[in-house]
Amino acid sequence: MDAALHPDYPLPDVEHPVTRPFWDGCRERRLLIQREKGTWTYHWPPKPSYWKGGKLEWVEAAGLGRVYSYVVGREPFLPAFQALLPHVMVLVELDEGPRLVGYMVHATPAEMAIGMRVRVVFKRLTDRVTLPVWEPVR
């Protein structure tokens, strides 16, 4: 799979101290999000571990949500994503509340709809980077 990755693919910095637990989780095929201890309020994007004296914890999300919005990318697109065209980018509202940017797999633009039920799928890009992407719950 590594060999197929376009040389210009924009990879995330998975070592960033704030988001590292998220990327570590993705590598283990677990979708981790931040929750405030006590109130159980979810935070996204992640905040630093020292936020308000360490009030946040990483917990595993169910990996289910709904399409909050989507866009279908057409030509001219970036070379790194050319193979995915038409590229269906989604904003998924997790059942836990946060909205995550992702893209769809196993779905055509024609079947996309706001409110569609989706499930996380993990797509390995490199040894270090695995992306959570989304498929319809049929």
Binding site: D8, Y9, P10, L11, P12, D13, H16, T19, W44, P45, Y68, S69, Y70, V71, V72, G73, R74, F77, L78, A80, F81, L84, P86, H87, M89, L91, P98, R99, L100, V101, G102, Y103, P109, I114, L125, V129, L131, V133
Partner: protein
């Protein structure tokens, strides 16, 4: 409470006591062939000439930049004796009116007397677009959207547009009304990049999809340009060439839980324009109904529709129908983007909207609204933004 009262006092001191006295810009181009560190100087010099001021009068500078031009390079090129105050605002599309707010605050607090505000930007050529250079390792906020391919601004905004269309029934024809109004205005503006390229609904609807639901005509241009204005106190403005155009109210806002660009974790997906508008109108004696026209930031047509709602010209969800019946065109109830805006004049991060606001109030627009006394100018909603109300006697 104490902080709130300080805030009120500062903005009372700014209101109609600070003015834009000079404007200038170079002809827009697809490839201007000069670096922005050079074009910026010329644009500021044109604005100083327009004001009837000399470089030696300048002691402050507020620039809108995401690049790396040094203030001293510009000050030296102009012949400024001494800069006593300067700052640089970032956030593509959002910071235009922010430069004016900072200048106004510096002037009323005595940090500066004559401030140049400018934006110079080269992005006409394909290689110069920041998103086209996105590769290999994403280390900032964008690491949580760029790796999925959400990179082109059209897709970032398309996400908001699709939601708006779904939730409120906004139609492509509504987006088209915005594009057509901007193009009609551009066709009377000799500086507009799209002059001589008429657009009607039939052509609009046939535009090819770029980031569905947004098509070619929903997207702004990509332009090289350099624009400047000169800000000073009304006292200093008295013996200058033009009547002063007053900064009546001005605001900046990041909104809650902000992310640069894919700013999707705000309540109900509200944009940064909501908190910005709240502050802007709270500091203003004028209200949306008092605006004779509006220069609403338009990198993409849905931003104008959402801007009409966020800045209070209509209720949430009614921005689409608000565009109907030529309301946004010259002669309509609320002409918008009377220079052609980013969609059809030039896309220079919205600084041209400030210049056009001043022209309207001077009575020198190419699409002059009769007896124009007040106009709204806004920056990009979505990103950390800014807005202002300009007025004239």
């Amino acid at each position: 409470m104490a902080r709130n009262s300080v805030d009120q006092e500062l903005f009372r001191r700014i209101r109609d006591r600070v003015a834009i006295v000079g404007i200038g810009h170079l002809p827009f181009a697809k490839d201007i062939g000069r670096p922005i560190s050079d074009t910026a100087i010329e644009a500021i010099q044109i604005a100083l000439d327009d004001a009837g001021l000399e470089a030696e009068d300048v002691d402050g500078m507020s620039m809108f930049e995401m690049e790396h031009t040094h203030e001293v390079t510009i000050a030296r090129g102009l012949g400024v004796k001494n800069l006593g105050w300067w700052d640089k605002l970032s956030y593509g599309g959002g910071a235009s009116c922010g430069t004016i707010m900072h200048a106004a605050a510096a002037i009323v607090s005595g940090l500066a007397t004559v401030v140049t505000c400018h934006r110079a930007r080269n992005r006409g050529s394909r290689e110069s677009r920041p998103w086209a250079q996105e590769r290999v390792l994403v280390t900032d906020d964008k690491a949580l959207h760029v790796p999925w391919g959400l990179i082109r601004p059209v897709d970032v905004i398309g996400m908001w547009a699709q939601r708006h269309m779904h939730r409120y029934g906004t139609k492509r024809e509504h987006l088209g009304n915005v594009a057509i109004a901007a193009r009609k205005h551009a066709n009377r503006n000799p500086y507009a990049m799209m002059r001589g390229r008429p657009l009607d609904m039939e052509i609009y609807l046939k535009g090819r999809m770029i980031g569905d639901p947004l098509s070619l005509y929903d997207c702004c241009l990509e332009t090289d340009g350099a624009l400047a204005c000169i800000v000073t106190s009304v006292e200093r403005a008295k013996d200058l060439k033009h009547k002063p155009i007053y900064v009546h109210s001005v605001a900046q806002a990041s909104g809650p839980n902000p992310v640069h660009l894919a700013n999707y974790n705000t309540p109900d997906l509200q944009t940064t324009a909501v908190p910005c508008a709240e502050q802007l109108w709270a500091r203003s004696e004028l209200q949306p109904r008092d605006m004779d026209c509006a220069q609403i930031y338009d990198a993409f047509t849905p931003l104008v529709i959402m801007g009409l709602e966020d800045y209070g010209f209509c209720k949430r969800g009614e921005g689409g129908p608000f565009t109907e019946g030529g309301r946004l065109e010259l002669g309509g109830e609320l002409p918008v983007l009377t220079s052609g805006g980013g969609l059809s004049e030039a896309y220079v991060h919205g600084f041209n909207l400030i210049i056009e606001g001043v022209r309207q109030l001077r009575g020198t627009s190419y699409n002059q609204v009769p007896d124009c006394k007040a106009t709204l100018v806004t920056g990009a909603s979505g990103v950390a933004t800014s807005a202002m109300v300009l007025r004239a006697d």
